[in-house]
């Protein structure tokens, strides 16, 4: 990143106005989140109170929501599914990306284009066949049923291929002369060289699966297999007018990503930039 030749010497009044406007906009952006958390700390009687800081904050709602155990279950379901799918994508997308980038073989171009072409197919078109397939194989309302469509993605494969192309062939050739097998070369030599791309892919896949709604909604039927977003929807419908309870549920569904974001902010932003520009 090259430094811009703007004048940083004196703080111009224009700068202050820009900063203030941006700050106001930013606060407006997070206001819904603030109100969500604030309301989750209020009792039913206080929710008409517009004050952001509750007069008598209480964790009662959280105790109530968490005590029936469903939220914990949904949380763990989501965590397990998002982690498993992320691992699978990191493994397969980079294995395929590597193979397509670093080997010469007949059909390479064809396979690459075939995989890329799946980007054009919207999930919505595939869910009906997936549903039928799951019904036939007994995958409806199972973890595997939720996970199987996303185990590999064309986007991840494309991203990884781009990065593996930047890995010098000499490294791999040297490892070959040392007698390492191709799998070991990929795993031990090539993979560590593309960690930025891997972390970007990991973040994207995890977030995407953590917040996924459409397919889990279709494939799950019992509350014990719900992911957090689906569980929250069913919970909210059931609570109908108890907004403080719904906000507590929403806060519980948002908290994990919020924590992850605050811890990994730099990497997430870089990952978005990387993946966005490559995609």
């Amino acid at each position: 990143m090259t430094a811009r030749t703007l004048s940083y010497g004196k703080i111009a009044p224009g700068k202050i106005i820009t900063w203030t406007l941006l700050f106001i906009g930013g606060v407006a952006m997070v206001t819904p989140l603030l109100f969500m958390f604030s309301t989750s700390l209020k009792t039913a009687g206080q929710i008409y109170d517009l004050r952001l800081i509750p007069a008598e904050p209480t964790l009662q709602n959280y105790v109530k929501v968490l005590s029936d155990g469903r939220f914990l279950r949904w949380f763990l379901n989501s965590m397990f599914i998002a982690c498993a799918v992320t691992c699978s994508n990191l493994f397969f997308d980079s294995l395929v990306g590597y193979t397509l980038a670093k080997f010469e073989f007949r059909g390479r171009k064809f396979i690459f284009i075939a995989i890329l072409s799946t980007l054009m197919i919207p999930t919505e078109m595939l869910v009906i066949p997936w549903y039928l397939m799951s019904a036939n194989l007994g995958w409806l309302d199972t973890y595997w049923g939720i996970m199987f469509p996303g185990m590999m993605t064309a986007f991840g494969t494309f991203l990884m291929k781009q990065f593996f192309e930047g890995v010098p062939d000499d490294f791999l050739e040297a490892a070959r002369i040392d007698g390492l097998n191709e799998f070991t070369i990929w795993w031990r030599i090539a993979m560590p060289l593309v960690t930025p791309a891997l972390s970007a892919l990991a973040i994207f896949t995890f977030l995407g699966n953590w917040t996924a709604f459409f397919w889990p909604l279709i494939v799950t039927t019992s509350a014990e297999h719900y992911t957090l977003p689906i569980g929250l929807t069913s919970f909210a419908v059931e609570q109908s007018i108890q907004w403080e309870m719904i906000m507590t549920g929403a806060a519980l569904a948002t908290l994990p990503t919020l924590v992850v974001f605050l811890l990994l902010q730099r990497y997430i932003v870089r990952g978005v930039m990387l993946a966005g520009l490559k995609g």
């Binding site: 819904p32 969500m36 073989f105 919505e124 078109m125 191709e182 919020l258 930039m273």
Partner: protein
């Protein structure tokens, strides 16, 4: 490539000609490597065939059948499409879907660019400000839909109407009105996706070499001219990407609508129902799999056209 071209050059005589040792070892190496390649690709090729390509063909085929899941699918040709194009609900849904796109994409792009443009010049508290804008993007759409749904409630529950009431302004029936419900939902989708677009625009702005700006300043261009003559043209790839990305996003809107109108999904009076929600209801509430498959084919065609337009716009890159 090499393995393929090697074959025709070898003499028709039995193999293992003169420069045997190295050549054969080279050949063996190549075969070995090819074995590795296909052992790496075996599972993925199977996956893409069974989980992506076969279902695509199946969806096309199903769209030509009448099927309720119980009896065998019955081939009815283009009947589903004829029925779809004669269905007034479909045209309403089709219109809604494009309304999401036509409101969402321009508004979010202009907002995102403006914010990114100014945020890019801020040093003090840059990370903090950026985080504020980015936070909604990483939240769960279904959770945020309920937060906004609560905001949009009538007074005294709904925050916005509650505040308006205190200012003496009459309440706005955000989600209850057939006119306002769709824009209200679009607004939440814009809010949720804005952070992503800002980050992408900022990455695009950073990628413009600073020498261009220096040259422009030496030539005496003012800020507005620089924006029009340098920044915007050089940002074209980023803009095209975001236009397509966000168009596809708005055409596939579902989570927000489903969660903000869950008692009567797509209501009031179908005024917020997008194509994906119609597909969901046709397939998983009415179990008309063939008819739903025909709807997915329509969605696929629209998205395909958009992707092709993107390829066309980016062709000289």
């Amino acid at each position: 490539m090499a393995d393929a071209s090697a074959a025709p050059h070898t003499p028709p005589a039995p193999r293992a000609p003169e420069p045997a040792p190295t050549a054969r070892r080279g050949l063996r190496m190549r075969t070995k490597r090819l074995l590795w390649v296909w052992s790496f690709l075996a599972l993925p090729v199977l996956f893409y065939s069974v989980i992506r390509f076969y279902p695509t063909i199946e969806a096309f085929w199903l769209s030509l059948t009448n099927w309720d899941l119980l009896s065998d699918p019955e081939y009815i040709g283009l009947e589903n499409y004829r029925r779809l194009f004669a269905d007034p609900l479909f045209w309403q849904v089709f219109g809604n879907t494009f309304k999401y796109l036509l409101i969402g994409t321009p508004v979010s792009l202009v907002l995102a660019f403006t914010i990114a443009y100014f945020l890019d010049r801020i040093r003090f508290g840059h990370t903090f400000l950026r985080a504020l804008y980015f936070l909604p993007f990483i939240t769960t759409a279904s959770a945020m839909a309920w937060v906004w749904r609560w905001f949009y409630q009538p007074a005294p529950t709904g925050i916005i109407n509650n505040a308006l009431g205190q200012l003496g302004i009459s309440p706005i029936p955000f989600l209850k009105s057939t006119e306002l419900a769709l824009p209200s939902i679009t607004f939440t989708a814009i809010w949720a996706g804005l952070g992503f677009q800002i980050i992408i625009f900022m990455a695009g702005l950073r990628a413009i070499p600073s020498t261009y700006y220096e040259a422009a300043r030496i030539d005496g261009l003012n800020e507005r001219q620089i924006l029009r003559k340098i920044t915007l043209p050089l940002l074209k790839p980023t803009t095209v990407f975001l236009v397509v990305f966000s168009s596809i996003g708005f055409l596939r809107i579902f989570d927000q609508v489903f969660n903000m109108s869950s008692i009567d999904p797509g209501g009031p009076l179908n005024s917020t129902k997008p194509l994906v929600l119609m597909i969901y209801q046709t397939a998983f509430s009415s179990y008309e799999m063939g008819y739903a498959a025909a709807q997915t084919t329509v969605l696929f065609s629209i998205l395909l056209v958009i992707s092709l337009v993107q390829l066309w716009l980016m062709r000289d890159r």
